[in-house]
């Protein structure tokens, strides 16, 4: 009985290894500049329900921490404020998602921009960095497990750490039609 529980513990510990795995070179595909998002799919009655896809970037604590670094490096904080509280741009830490809360929708928002001020970063940022950013943005409203979300800030903490945030449950009623990126 004892060795069995030890085995289970060892397996659990080993499962934790992957979340800190660092993939420095994401390969030629993911390194291409992100600029391929399909046009809007127009469909009567809106799109059928799709379960939220979790990208592999949302299972790596390193990728999410990189997203956090890029969030300030690319000055996302200039409009959405440090920690996603919102200022000129909408808050990213609540349940309100004007253009959808799934990783693909956030990817599309970053790559093609949105009306009312969100610039398009397509052609400027590598694909994998957009996915890291999208993963970090989702951690701001507690959508990521606390083992993945960043736990400490380099700045003075003005809000709860991403890890300690309660999961918000975004409603579907405000979403715009979903736009699919080409590659996953």
């Amino acid at each position: 009985m004892r060795w069995r529980s030890l085995c289970v513990l060892a397996l659990l510990v080993m499962a934790g290894c992957k979340r800190e795995q660092r993939l420095f070179d994401p390969g030629p595909n993911a390194s291409q500049l992100a600029n391929s998002v399909h046009g809007t799919v127009v469909q009567a009655g809106g799109l059928p329900y799709q379960p939220a896809t979790t990208s592999s970037y949302e299972q790596s604590a390193y990728a999410v921490a990189e997203g956090k670094r890029l969030y300030s490096a690319y000055n996302c904080a200039g409009c959405h404020s440090v920690g996603g509280g919102g200022a000129i741009g909408p808050a990213l830490s609540d349940a309100e998602w004007i253009y959808g809360s799934s990783p693909d929708q956030i990817y599309a928002t970053i790559v093609q921009g949105r009306g009312n001020g969100m610039p398009a970063f397509g052609g400027k940022v590598p694909d994998y960095q957009v996915r890291e950013l999208a993963a970090y943005v989702r951690s701001l409203s507690g959508q990521l497990p606390s083992t993945i979300a960043p736990s400490r800030s380099d700045q003075m903490p003005i809000a709860k750490a991403e890890q300690a945030r309660q999961q918000e449950h975004p409603g579907d009623e405000n979403t715009q039609p979903i736009q699919h990126p080409e590659s996953h």
Binding site: R22, F24, D25, P26, P28, S31, Q32, L33, A73, Y74, G123, K124, V125, P126, Y128, Q129, D154
Partner: protein, 333 residues
């Protein structure tokens, strides 16, 4: 030349990253202290070893085990006490000599504080050095990376800080180490008397590419230093050939513009090194690669193969674009 500096002139240490080849007064004082401590401890070590060797040799025929408790005549006890006490006395004396020499060195170096006519701001980043020369007019400020130019024979104050983790500024031919702390400023007064190019390195482990975080201190005569400052303060002329013009377009329309600055263009981001005069530098990637077209192209295409974990993402692009971009960057002198 005093006795110590003659002793300190150990042959074979001519390197440009060595505290045994000092290029300025501070490094020279540090080297003298180092030489003093080295020769004192070296002499003590040799004498101790010789004494032990003699003792072993003398008693080589003593076969029987020592009785326990050991019985020794009173005369021998007295001799032992004198020998141990005098050895201890000499040790304490020598330790005091080394301590006072160390105090004197620290005092002599610290005395220069507050008298530096030149000021340089050094920012440690993971894993490169940002160097700024503050000027009264903001548009004359010189910003460069991984290369610190200083005039010879003049005190220079380094204002050091870090933007992420603790780094340590260390150019051993010029001075000792100084840690750079995030959110805190540390100062170091340096001086180089010999002109030359001295390599320095981060001396505090700061992440996966700590070993590839070096810089160059370029000490040159005052007139050459001022000529360099004037050239660096200006903006490079607009690209003249069709190749460099296209290279500039590539730079401004791709990912480069997200992180780098080239003054005189719309590129003004402060995440990566300032590339306004990148063509004038000796090395790229913080002293990792020589600055030529081939290595620059490799670095742009996939920096992760050269320095895994570095902040520069891979940038796959058509060969023509890459060639033109490299030609443009090399033209920024």
């Amino acid at each position: 030349m005093n006795a110590i500096s003659m002793l300190a002139a150990v042959p074979g240490f001519t390197g440009n990253q060595s505290s045994l080849n000092p290029a300025g007064p501070m490094a020279q004082r540090i080297e003298h202290t180092l030489a003093l401590i080295f020769f004192v401890t070296g002499a003590v070590y040799v004498l101790t070893m010789v004494a032990m060797g003699i003792s072993v040799w003398r008693n080589r025929l003593a076969k029987e085990e020592f009785p326990s408790p050991q019985q020794t005549p009173a005369e021998q006890d007295r001799k032992t006490v004198i020998a141990v006490a005098s050895a201890m006395g000499i040790s304490v004396l020598l330790l005091f000599v080394m301590m006072l020499a160390s105090f004197a060195t620290s005092h002599a170096i610290g005395k220069e504080n507050g008298r530096a006519p030149f000021e340089v701001d050094v920012y440690g980043h993971q894993w490169w050095w940002e160097v700024k020369y503050p000027q009264p007019e903001a548009d004359k400020m010189v910003v460069t990376a991984n290369e610190i130019h200083i005039p010879t024979g003049s005190l220079v104050r380094i204002h050091g800080t870090s933007t992420d983790v603790i780094h340590s500024f260390w150019a051993p031919n010029i001075h000792g180490k100084r840690d750079l702390m995030p959110g805190y400023q540390t100062d170091l007064i340096i001086q180089a008397d010999q002109p030359g190019r001295w390599r320095g390195q981060c001396a505090e482990f700061c992440g996966p590419q700590h070993a590839h975080m070096s810089f160059l201190v370029v000490a040159e005569p005052m007139d050459k230093f001022h000529a360099w400052m004037t050239a660096q303060a200006g903006t490079p002329p607009p690209p003249s050939t069709s190749q460099t013009q296209h290279g500039q377009e590539v730079f401004l329309s791709r990912a480069c513009i997200m992180c780098h600055t080239i003054r005189g263009t719309v590129a003004g981001s402060r995440v990566g090194p300032d590339l306004t005069h990148v063509g004038s530098r000796d090395a790229i990637a913080s002293g990792t690669l020589p600055n030529d077209a081939q290595h620059l192209a490799q670095w742009i295409t996939n920096a992760q193969q050269i320095k895994p974990g570095v902040r520069m993402p891979p940038n796959p692009m058509p060969q023509q674009d890459l060639n033109d971009l490299v030609a443009y960057l090399e033209s920024l002198r």
